[in-house]
């Protein structure tokens, strides 16, 4: 770095500004700012930026983030997982089956579910590695298989497709609040008392703040993002992930355990989907056969908005998190802005397309690639 006269471009000096701009998440950052400016202009007085509104789009964004982190790492490692949505429905149903139908303690139900789902993720990865088939096809098969079981199992054992009563069964459990609880409730009560957050006007919760705590869902999202980011950028394993997705053969030749990396990433994606499902089931108290429909695409969209390449080998977890934030804010924000419901998807599509185009354009401009 010291010798600027060298002609070897690998050690070419670059300005600090340019270096700081040469990040996959730059597009996501610009997009985030653009989206917030847009909604501040068009939906400012709609309640979107009051405490409750913020909590609303934060939760939705956090949901996207949880599955986007897994999808992002997997995509950087060069693979897709289309079974994420079905895995969410399946995991939720497993918790209900073990916890309600078989009446096991909730923490055992949750742990068994995690073991089953992460194993299924490993199976996904194993099949992809062994057969050499595109993960697109293999996980598409699991999209159907898992969804089928999610409908079949509750119908067979309970004659219905929604199993409820999980909230009551989880009462007093030590593990359930880790997914469905809320923290900092005292702080939010104080915010309510001093009038920063609105309070309930009537009913049994009169005087309590309308936003009464930080849901564990958001905590999980932030933890997973931090974990994924550190893993990817600060560890040897992170380099292996990039190498496996960039050029698997070259990576193998230089000693990277590509198969192990890929299988582990499939397992991590399944883990993220199970976290999503557990949070949802614990919050709402029931598992339904139709939960998680199309979530796999929402995860992939968030990752791509965040600057990752569909072809693998390039991307960032922070970018994916910003992509999830953009997606969540746009989706809920359009409701706040009062967009006609049938046009809602049109706007969503346009904004997503805009974000990705902007993203790509900025990246090319900064990095100077073709």
């Amino acid at each position: 770095m010291a010798d600027t006269a060298t002609t070897d471009e690998r050690v070419k000096e670059m300005s600090r500004l340019r270096l700081s701009l040469m990040r996959p998440e730059l597009g996501g950052m610009v997009g985030t700012v653009a989206v917030f400016v847009f909604f501040l202009l068009f939906a400012y007085d709609s309640g979107m930026f009051a405490a409750q509104g913020i909590m609303n789009w934060s939760i939705v964004s956090a949901q996207f983030m949880i599955i986007a982190v897994g999808a992002c790492l997997l995509m950087i490692a060069g693979e897709f997982d289309l079974s994420v949505g079905s895995m969410i429905g399946f995991a939720g149903m497993m918790i209900a089956v073990f916890g309600i139908v078989l009446d096991l303690p909730m923490w055992i139900a949750i742990l068994i579910t995690f073991v089953i789902c992460v194993s299924l993720g490993a199976l996904n990865g194993f099949i992809v590695i062994r057969t050499g088939l595109p993960s697109f096809i293999v996980t598409l098969a699991f999209l159907f298989i898992l969804r089928g079981f999610t409908i079949y199992i509750p119908q067979t054992v309970e004659n219905k497709t929604i199993i409820g009563g999980i909230r009551d069964a989880a009462e007093g459990d030590w593990l359930a609040p880790v997914f469905g609880g809320k923290i900092f409730t005292g702080f939010f009560q104080w915010l309510g008392d001093i009038g920063v957050v609105g309070v309930f006007e009537r009913g049994s919760r009169e005087g309590q703040p309308v936003v009464d705590g930080l849901p564990m869902l958001i905590v999980w999202a932030l933890l997973l993002v931090a974990f994924g980011h550190i893993l990817l950028t600060r560890t040897r394993f992170g380099n292996w992930v990039f190498a496996a997705g960039g050029d698997a053969e070259a990576a193998r030749n230089s000693g990277v355990p590509v198969n192990r990396v890929k299988v582990l990433m499939f397992m991590f994606t399944a883990f993220c989907a199970t976290v999503f499902a557990t949070c949802q089931v614990m919050e709402f108290g029931s598992a339904g056969a139709d939960r998680g429909l199309l979530k796999e695409f929402e995860a992939i969209i968030a990752v791509v908005i965040g600057g990752a390449l569909l072809t693998g080998g390039y991307g960032s977890v922070i970018g994916a998190a910003l992509g999830a934030l953009i997606f969540g804010v746009v989706q809920q924000g359009l409701f706040f802005a009062g967009v006609e419901s049938s046009l809602f998807r049109v706007f969503l599509g346009i904004i997503l397309l805009g974000a990705v185009v902007l993203n790509t354009y900025i990246r090319r401009m900064i990095t100077g690639e073709r």
């Binding site: 009051a50 789009w57 409820g164 009563g165 309930f200 939960r291 409701f335 706040f336 419901s341």
Partner: protein, 315 residues
Amino acid sequence: MKQMIASLAIGAAIISAPVAATAAGHEELNYVLVSHAPDSDTWWNTIKNGIALAGEQVGVNVEYRNPPTGDIADMARIIEQATASAPDGIITTLADFDVLQGPISNAVDQGIDVIIMNTGTPEQAREVGALMYVGQPEYDAGLAAGMRAKGEGVTNFLCVNHAIQQPTVGERCRGYADGLGIELGNAMMDSGTDPSEIKNKVMAYLSANPDVDGILTLGPVSADPTIAALDEMGLSGEIHFGTFDLGEEIVKAIKSGTINWGIDQQPFLQAYLPVVVLANWDRYGVLPGNNINSGPGFVTADGLEKVEEFAGEYR
């Protein structure tokens, strides 16, 4: 120029007169209807048309929201979002009590008026603190059907239930029996959902019980094979036949006289009435004293014309 503006103003006044008359001196009211139906469910088009018409006639804004894939957890987020945008009222279904109970009670506790429509029960609506329930309670609909059938001379009946695992649907049979004033006994048949199985079961039951003079089916799934069974036995028009819901075969059978009437839950009213009720509650503080039954609406051969004309739009 002045004249032109004046005439324009008069024209506008005339056009908007009915709206202005009801909305005069009132602030703008905003309502949101949240359904559980995925985008692909066309049945809800009637609901959209219903709220659009009501909004126009009463002079309020009504928005329609639904989870695109029909995911009830997403629906809960939409209710939370609607609550955060502080509308004057929310109209919603109670598709999954466990999931939606929290978000709906939160909205109620923040001073937003809620009306439950379509899915749910009057009891659940009361529990979440809603103003009322607008829909077709299963038992009441069956009861009304039974009372009508009694008036039309039914003394002995068969209720063909194709959805025995759904206890709420069975309530229709119970109501029907009570309306007739007859013990339900084993007159409720678990028919299954296979058409040929249903047809054969109905034929067997009618042969074994020749004194049956009334049949109730609970939807197109059980009605269509029952029509075929009656045709085959030459009993079409001989036995009093009522059914829930409408469908192509059912409409044909009503026309030909095989079916006496079909029961329509009238989704249009489930959308239209809550808007009117909320607007009058917000403006004048008046509220009907009970839940509103949007059905049963009896569709007979006489009423078919309107059904066919407005099918998919308001029916």
